[in-house]
């Protein structure tokens, strides 16, 4: 308990805000079990998740940007026999990821309002459980707590794909599950190894210790497999297109926007501070894989005819930028990586929502079937255009800021990697513009397709605002994450010397 205060500022509010934000959706989910009537179920789920977002804004408003310690800390013993505790806390790395999650959850519920026709109760139940687990992953400062949340996410996600997914859901869901579980098992072994060396399951306690080099190598590899699968980095990405394509819209959004971030979050939170030497040792390989991912993802995107698949592969490329930033080992790179994670969450999430909107009308994800919407759905095309140009990092949109930071970071380390990632960024423009052109002008014939409803505008609007805000005025975001990353950098340098 005493050691905690070195790195954890306890919560000074009179209520455990992090626990509330984590477990409110769970409470809502349990409440759902006793309810009947589709409408009331949907409303309950929506209200629960909608309350959660302002609650998480309380965290944001109370967040102290002047400290590198974890904030809003909570502590309770859990399994004393093994020194496993219930420790929560957030820092600059996690604050926006939590906000992103709480923002997306109500949007996901809104976008499933009519798209999900059967087993609504179970669907909303899964969504809310997912929210609890995702926020929990970002808040947990205890390895076992982290692992429990990390794995607990798998089951509802699996069910989301397996029950409400597309025609090929069976294959996609099982591949997703087995791939991810395979990675997590090694994560567990690494966690136990760290525990037996340090005698603690506390994540901050395990950071920046003088582990032996070979120990670091093995632990890094075990961590890296788990996180690389989650990101996903080339060549572990094959589960992603399948899962993304088959999942219902809400599932795709959660997958793309939050689940993928957990991989990069893991790299930042575990690999760099716990195994700094091994991270630097494997750095070039990770950079190489990231660059391959960026270029490979770009080329594969060029040949896709399925909108969801295209966006899924573009995720591989975008997340490549995030890992590239992380393994540039510069503050700029890390800031870029974090922004990229956030931006990708918003932009790709929004693109999946867009696909969902058009899918509800045409029941097809093929680009050709949905082409030429420019005159039929002007409002829709407006949103779609904004998110597309944001996706290939058009200046003035959010992704530009993130990629710029990453490129600055990587160019200071390796010109070659920088050059190739520029090529990747160009490819992004090529495939996104191709998609955009098809959707807007692709076909001449007139069809009867209704434009967006108010509900759909409501859930795209916040994301669109974010795209522009972040693109034009990124300073407030950078400011919040800066201190944590500077601290990480200086600590790492001490240990690398």
């Amino acid at each position: 308990m005493m050691a905690l205060h070195k790195y954890l500022i306890m919560n000074t509010l009179c209520y455990p805000i992090l626990s509330i934000v984590i477990f409110l959706p769970l409470a809502g989910a349990i409440l759902l079990l006793f309810m009947r009537g589709e409408r009331s179920i949907k409303m309950t789920a929506l209200i629960t998740s909608a309350i959660n977002f302002p609650l998480s804004l309380i965290i944001y408003s109370g967040f102290d940007i002047g400290t590198e310690k974890f904030q809003f800390g909570e502590f309770a013993p859990w399994i004393p026999a093994y020194n496993i505790n219930y420790v929560l806390g957030i820092d600059g790395i996690t604050i926006f990821l939590i906000l992103l999650t709480t923002l997306l959850a109500p949007l996901c519920i809104l976008c499933s309002w009519t798209a999900i026709e059967r087993r609504v109760k179970e669907f909303m139940f899964c969504i809310l459980i997912m929210e609890t687990a995702m926020i929990g992953v970002f808040c947990a400062l205890d390895f076992i707590l982290f692992y429990v949340f990390w794995e607990a996410m798998l089951i509802p996600m699996y069910l989301l794909i397996a029950i409400w997914g597309g025609p090929n859901k069976d294959y996609a869901s099982i591949k997703f599950f087995i791939y991810t579980l395979f990675g997590s098992v090694f994560l567990l072994v690494a966690i136990i190894a760290v525990y037996l060396t340090t005698g603690t399951f506390s994540i901050p306690d395990a950071m920046f210790r003088d582990y032996g080099f070979s120990f670091q190598l093995w632990v890094f590899l075990a961590f890296a497999i788990a996180f690389a699968i989650k990101v996903p980095m080339f060549p572990f990405h094959t589960w992603l297109p399948a899962a993304h394509t088959e999942a219902p819209t809400a599932g795709s959004v959660f997958l793309a926007s939050v689940l993928l971030k957990m991989g990069t979050y893991g790299f930042l939170r575990f690999c760099l501070p716990i195994t700094p030497k091994a991270s630097v040792f494997f750095g070039p390989y990770m950079i190489a894989l990231s660059v391959i991912g960026i270029i490979y993802g770009g080329f594969v995107c060029l040949s896709q005819t399925d909108m969801k698949k295209l966006i899924a592969y573009s995720s591989v490329a975008h997340m490549g930028f995030a890992t590239l930033g992380i393994f540039s080992f510069t503050v700029f790179g890390w800031e870029g990586a974090l922004l990229q994670m956030l931006n990708h969450g918003v932009t790709t999430g929004a693109l999946f929502l867009c696909v969902g909107i058009v899918y509800e009308r045409t029941h097809s994800r093929e680009i050709y079937d949905n082409a030429g919407l420019g005159k039929i759905m002007p409002a829709y095309v407006g949103f779609f255009g904004l998110f597309s140009i944001s996706s290939f990092a058009f200046p003035g949109t959010n992704n530009f800021v993130g990629e710029l930071y990453v490129l600055i970071g990587i160019f200071s380390q390796s010109k070659l990697a920088g050059f190739f990632s520029i090529v990747g960024a160009l490819l992004a423009a090529a495939y996104m513009l191709r998609l955009l052109k098809q959707i807007v002008w692709g076909r001449e014939d007139k069809r009867e397709i209704a434009d967006m409803k108010a509900r759909e505008v409501i859930y795209l609007l916040p994301l669109a605002l974010f795209v522009v805000w972040m693109g034009l005025f990124p300073r407030p975001f950078v400011q919040v994450i800066e201190k944590t990353l500077m601290n990480l950098h200086s600590q790492m340098n001490i240990f690398l010397r």
């Binding site: 004393p80 794995e151 397996a162 099982i174 579980l181 037996l196």
Partner: protein, 462 residues
């Protein structure tokens, strides 16, 4: 002091008389309250302490905990008999009687600290099972084949065990574990010590269906009736785990040779179980191979030869009881006319009976070891205790196995959730059945999320 055993004995005798009488239908009604009484008595007697029969029979926290768990498992199995339609009405009281005797034998087993009484207790529990395996309606020869196999394998393993015990007696010149403990660690680095202990343990390996004594499991699971399998797959394993822990305690710190052998057995057992499990179609066979794999996991706690490891093993066998019962219960309810359930029968289960599908999912995820279920927590403790003693290899093998096994456990869930059917006639569940399902779900999740109370008790016991 021996109230749990006495009450189980009385339970069995009551059904002995019932089986002599004419009124057979009252059996099921009577069994439930009586089994609850047994459970209550076992829980009440958990702090009892003492020795009987000049030290051959010890009652301590260790044995009382195991008795309570056995009583709990027994009680749950009795409650699961509700919808049984596999056993002839006429034999039903006898069936319950033999279940009772088997539980009695196991309760005696966990208290025995002397070789002869161990053998006797083990045989009491086994003989009852030999009798009830063929009790199955409507099948032709499978159940007979199963029972003969079980009998022969049981006899052989008992023979090997007795052979090992004769070595132990030869070394220690006593049949009391307390005397053996003084002598055996001294010879544990010699072949005779290792051989004696391994051969003796074989009897319990058989009950646990651990490699190389696993051959019986799939056939007997398949051949015996669903309810019988439920019992065989869960309750006797608790007794065997208890004795496995008791016997390996004899080796204490000087058991490096023994540990190496156990590591190999554990590794082969879990790998074999999981790999063969991948291709099973009959769910009972699948769970049999899963049981073989789990015996391997369990051994990880035992081979740590540490307090933590033993506590982890007890924790694991307890959660294994609950999650396995949960899976089997779904099978019992699903089975039409007492037939075996194959994977394809699960299709559309989440439509036909959402609660059953959920119970099965919780059980399967727990068997696979996914948080927040108890299976994960138990496995975590096992991994940690083995890792702490430096057995890195077995931990990694265990981890890889977890990843392999997920496929067939997930298959259970996949079949019931993601496969669609056109005609889905719902399965009606009675209040009792629903309640039992909720109890299983609760227990599995409880042991996953709130492990501290139980774990502390288990650590006190070893």
């Amino acid at each position: 002091m021996i109230l749990p055993e006495l009450s189980t004995l009385i339970f069995s005798i009551v059904f002995l008389f019932l089986s002599l009488g004419k009124k057979k239908d009252s059996a099921a009604l009577l069994a439930k309250p009586l089994s609850i009484i047994i459970l209550g008595i076992s829980l009440a007697g958990i702090l009892a302490n003492g020795e009987l029969f000049s030290g051959a029979y010890r009652i301590d926290l260790f044995s009382q905990i195991f008795k309570a768990v056995i009583a709990y498992g027994f009680c749950l199995v009795i409650f699961m008999l509700d919808r049984q339609n596999e056993i002839e009405e006429a034999y039903f009281p006898e069936y319950i009687m033999f279940l009772g005797f088997s539980a009695l034998g196991l309760m005696m087993l966990v208290s025995s600290v002397e070789l002869i009484s161990i053998v006797i207790a083990l045989e009491v529990s086994s003989y009852s099972l030999y009798v009830i395996i063929p009790l199955r309606k409507g099948q032709t020869t499978v159940q007979i084949e199963a029972s003969v196999k079980y009998l022969f394998f049981g006899a052989i393993s008992t023979g090997i065990m007795l052979f090992g015990m004769s070595y132990i007696y030869g070394i220690a010149k006593s049949t009391f574990l307390s005397d053996i403990l003084k002598v055996l660690p001294g010879v544990m680095n010699q072949p005779i010590g290792v051989f004696a202990l391994i051969l003796t343990l074989t009897g319990f390996f058989f009950k646990l269906s651990l490699f190389p004594m696993h051959f019986w499991a799939p056939d007997i699971y398949e051949g015996a009736s669903n309810t019988t399998t439920t019992f065989i797959a869960t309750v006797p394993k608790i007794g065997a785990a208890a004795l496995l822990i008791r016997m390996t305690m004899l080796a204490s710190a000087s058991g490096a040779q023994l540990v190496n052998i156990l590591i190999v057995l554990a590794a082969v057992s879990m790998t074999l179980g999981n790999l063969v499990g991948l291709v099973q179609k009959d769910i009972k066979r699948l769970l049999a191979y899963s049981g073989i794999a789990h015996a391997g996991y369990l051994l990880m706690g035992v081979l740590a030869l540490s307090k933590d490891g033993y506590a982890a093993a007890i924790y694991y066998i307890t959660i294994y009881l609950f999650m396995n019962l949960a899976c089997f219960y779904v099978l019992v309810l699903l089975s039409k006319d007492g037939k075996n359930v194959v994977l394809d029968d699960l299709v559309g289960l989440s439509r036909r009976a959402p609660l059953l599908a959920f119970t099965l999912a919780v059980g399967a995820f727990s068997l696979a070891g996914i948080p927040p279920t108890g299976g994960f927590t138990g496995k975590l403790f096992l991994f940690m205790s083995a890792f702490r003693e430096g057995h890195l290899a077995i931990v990694i093998i265990g981890a890889v196995n977890t990843a392999i096994s997920i496929f067939y456990y997930l298959n259970l869930v996949r079949m019931s959730y993601s496969k669609e059917v056109e005609s889905a006639d719902p399965i009606q569940l009675t209040f009792n059945e629903k309640a039992l399902c909720y109890i299983f779900i609760f227990l599995v999740l409880y042991m996953g999320i709130v492990p501290f109370g139980l774990l502390d008790i288990f650590r006190l016991a070893v």
